[in-house]
Symmetry: C2
DNA sequence: AGCCATTATTTGTCGGACTAATATTTTGAG
DNA sequence: CTCAAAATATTAGTCCGACAAATAATGGCT
């Protein structure tokens, strides 16, 4: 273990140790899957106790920067960031920001529309048969009236994710998965009527067809219609809720 | 403190406690700025020791879900997610994914272009004078030849952020700040020649003008040119580096 | 009444001990 | 000699108990 860490002296040891290790990982002094010293050794090196080191490690673990295994040949390892977990964290943050009002639902809706239009255009040129199949599968599933609302919503999300995946851009996938996920609570609120489902399936058919035929423009139109429709249904749902409560 | 937590029994106590608290925060049982029980009390409630509770709390702190203060009237408080910090986390994750190859630079560049075109279009219709001023200020700063490379890069980032902010969409701001940030290492690598600076200032002028005159199309073109230019300079930089090392 | 010292409360840190998991080594049987 | 099972060593996970540091509230002093 030849990696050097800056020594930490002043305040809030755990936080600074975490920061020091994080920096070491970020700028490549610690590589992915590399094992870092044992907690005991780190404690000696940073001149703190093991619990303090552990708190630092937990901070990193919470960001999925390290993973740990017990036993000999165990230890704490630099973890390559799993995109799904990172997307989950992002989705959580976005959900909270919506809940607290930092992001308005309107901003979220327009952002989603704009981003999905971009993905749709890329998908129209980069799609593969696998992606089309995935979209078709979800669309077929959504036609099943026996689906519960939750199942329908889940399939809805998978459909959009499949379209995003078809764009072939991993960064957009990453961002969009989180955005779509963060919007799920809203979707859950408004999908409950058969008519709504049929309408949404109709939008999805138009989207799928646009990607199939490599015609991004109709896809953009379909997405715009879908967002407008969703917005209206959401407003209605809010009014109904207002009626019930007062 | 009337909030109930599910009791945790089976495995990995700290992780489950963190998850339990996180869920309580996410679905609103714990509201922002609310103080949660003392560590002692949580330890009793979850039937674990205080260090274990602390590890759970550190996990949440790492995700900026809670903040802590010492002293009476201190404690652990639910923290409203600061967009900048969340964006920083996202940027870190993105940087790592680029470093590890989960995201190709090409994917990153196209994603950035597409997203910035979206932001530019929104900015053209939603911009305020403050946003225009911010963009003008940075542009003026970039004309100063005395700037160090780092200062020029920083101003470059601020210019793009100002344009993104002008879109008026907080979610896009949030995402783009992270994307732009994650791209900084690349920028740092290629900005070193006076000619490059002049070219980039030229692109920025076109972008600013398009937002000023509410003409999104020319802005999109300028952004595309900027990305293409940047890509070429980056390829050259890579070749130079290859020459030096081999 | 206003200011300062005291105090109480809560997180931060510590050291050590024990538990649980697990890879390695040793041992034993075939 | 081979292979499997048991012992062993190593390492993270948990726990306890205590003290340090920060800080708001309290109470006493001027």
């Amino acid at each position: 273990m030849a990696v050097e860490f800056e020594s930490v002296v002043t305040v809030s040891a755990a936080k600074q140790i975490a920061e020091s290790l994080r920096a070491a990982i970020m700028d490549g002094r610690l590589k992915v899957d590399e094992r870092l010293p044992t907690e005991e050794e780190l404690a000696q090196r940073f001149k703190v106790s093991r619990p303090t080191v552990r708190e630092a490690l937990k901070r990193l673990a919470a960001q999925h920067l390290i993973r740990s295994r017990r036993g000999p040949a165990g230890g704490n390892f630099v973890s390559s960031p799993a995109p799904e977990e990172a997307a989950q964290s992002l989705a959580n943050a976005a959900t909270l920001m919506v809940a607290v009002g930092d992001i308005s639902l309107d901003a979220m809706a327009t952002a989603r529309l704009e981003l999905e239009v971009v993905c749709c255009r890329l998908a129209a040129s980069n799609r593969t048969d696998e992606h089309l199949d995935a979209m078709r599968r979800e669309l077929q599933a959504q036609r099943n009236a026996a689906l519960t609302d939750e199942e329908f919503c889940a399939s809805d999300i998978r459909f959009h994710r499949a379209m995003v995946d078809a764009s072939g851009n991993t960064l957009l996938q990453f961002l969009m998965h989180a955005v779509v996920e963060a919007l799920q609570p809203v979707s859950n609120m408004i999908i409950f009527r058969v008519r709504d489902r049929q309408a949404i399936v109709g939008f999805h058919e138009r989207i799928l067809h646009s990607v199939e035929s490599r015609d991004a423009e109709t896809g953009a139109a379909a997405l715009a219609d879908l967002v407008a429709y969703t917005r209206d249904r959401y407003r209605e749902a809010l009014e109904r809720r207002a009626d019930r409560t007062g």
